[in-house]
């Protein structure tokens, strides 16, 4: 087996294990930390497919941004030592069945489908290519989604502030 394959399976195992831990951990802060590992694993895979920029974004935004945000909010809303109550057993069983069924079905489809890979054309996701594509308004240019996303981010930011803002005493809304 090639080293790259070994690397991949290793990362994959890490990812899945930490994902599982993230959704089953009884302490909420740990769940966030396990999520961080799973996200890190993803970044590793991005490195493996040579999407370095994406990997960097993944690390910065997800691991650096969202997880930190989550941890802050955990700190704001819960005690760190507080154990979460276990979900009731029926729910677990039902959800497991659904999860397994879904996974089995998807895997069944994936394994039975014949993919026709295309040869690598040698285009590398280097910074200049990415930048050019993002700012390009011609064919295969992404300037419109880019702008839309930027507005969305702005809107989300405003929205988040408005929603989370503490009401002034005496005001009704």
């Amino acid at each position: 087996m090639e080293t790259s394959a070994i690397l991949f399976y290793t990362i994959a195992t890490i990812m899945i294990v930490f994902s599982l831990l993230a959704v089953t951990a009884s302490k909420i802060l740990r769940a966030a930390v396990f999520l961080l590992f799973a996200l890190g694993g993803t970044a590793g895979i991005y490195f493996m497919v040579d999407y370095f920029f994406l990997a960097a974004v993944q690390l910065i935004v997800y691991a650096g941004g969202i997880v930190v945000l989550i941890i802050f909010s955990i700190l704001l809303t819960s005690h760190i030592e507080e154990k979460m109550q276990k979900p009731d057993i029926w729910k677990i069983i039902l959800t497991s069945i659904i999860g397994f069924a879904g996974a089995t079905m998807s895997i069944h489809v994936i394994t039975n489908h014949v993919f026709t890979p295309h040869a690598d054309t040698g285009v590398v996701a280097s910074m200049d290519v990415i930048g050019e594509k993002l700012m390009n308004y011609g064919d295969s240019g992404y300037v419109l989604p880019f702008e839309v996303i930027s507005i969305l981010l702005l809107a989300a930011m405003v929205g988040a502030i408005v929603v989370a803002k503490r009401n002034k005493p005496g005001s009704n809304d």
Binding site: S4, F8, Y9, M15, I16, S19, A22, V23, L35, A38, I45, Y46, M48, V49, Y51, V57, V61, Y62, I66, L69, I70, S73, I74, L76, T77, S78, M84, Q85, K91, T95, S96, I98, G99, F100, G102, A103, S106, I110, F115, P117, H118, A119, D120, T121, V123, A125, I130, K133, L134, S140, I149, L152, L153, A156, G159, A160, I161, V163, A164, R166
Partner: protein, 105 residues
């Protein structure tokens, strides 16, 4: 570098990750852990895009950009979600999903 791994295997990994996310979303009671589960699912989807891009349509970088945008949206979503959670916590002193049923009927 990744070429030695068959696409099927890569996809099986993401599928498992996705359904783990689903499991978490359905069982967790705490809203923040539910958000974590959602992030897992998004992540799995991102990976899928990247794999398809890399294996099936190399060179176009479509999956790459899609993932990029999804990460951006995920960030926005997480920000809004957490703002809501905090507001909610401030109002009902809880972020348990089962207590958030004011909008029923």
């Amino acid at each position: 570098m990744i070429e030695q791994v068959p696409l099927n295997h890569a996809l099986i990994v993401t599928t498992m990750m996705f359904f783990i996310g689903v499991y978490g979303f359905l069982t967790r009671k705490n809203l923040i852990t539910m958000l974590i589960s959602i992030e897992l699912m998004l992540n799995a989807v991102n990976l899928n895009f990247v794999f398809f891009d890399k294996y099936l349509y190399p060179g176009t970088l479509e999956g790459h950009f899609f993932s990029l945008f999804i990460i951006a949206i995920a960030a926005a979503e997480a920000a809004v979600a957490i703002a809501i959670f905090i507001n909610l916590y401030r109002n009902i002193r809880s972020i348990d999903v089962e207590e958030v049923d004011k909008m029923k009927y």
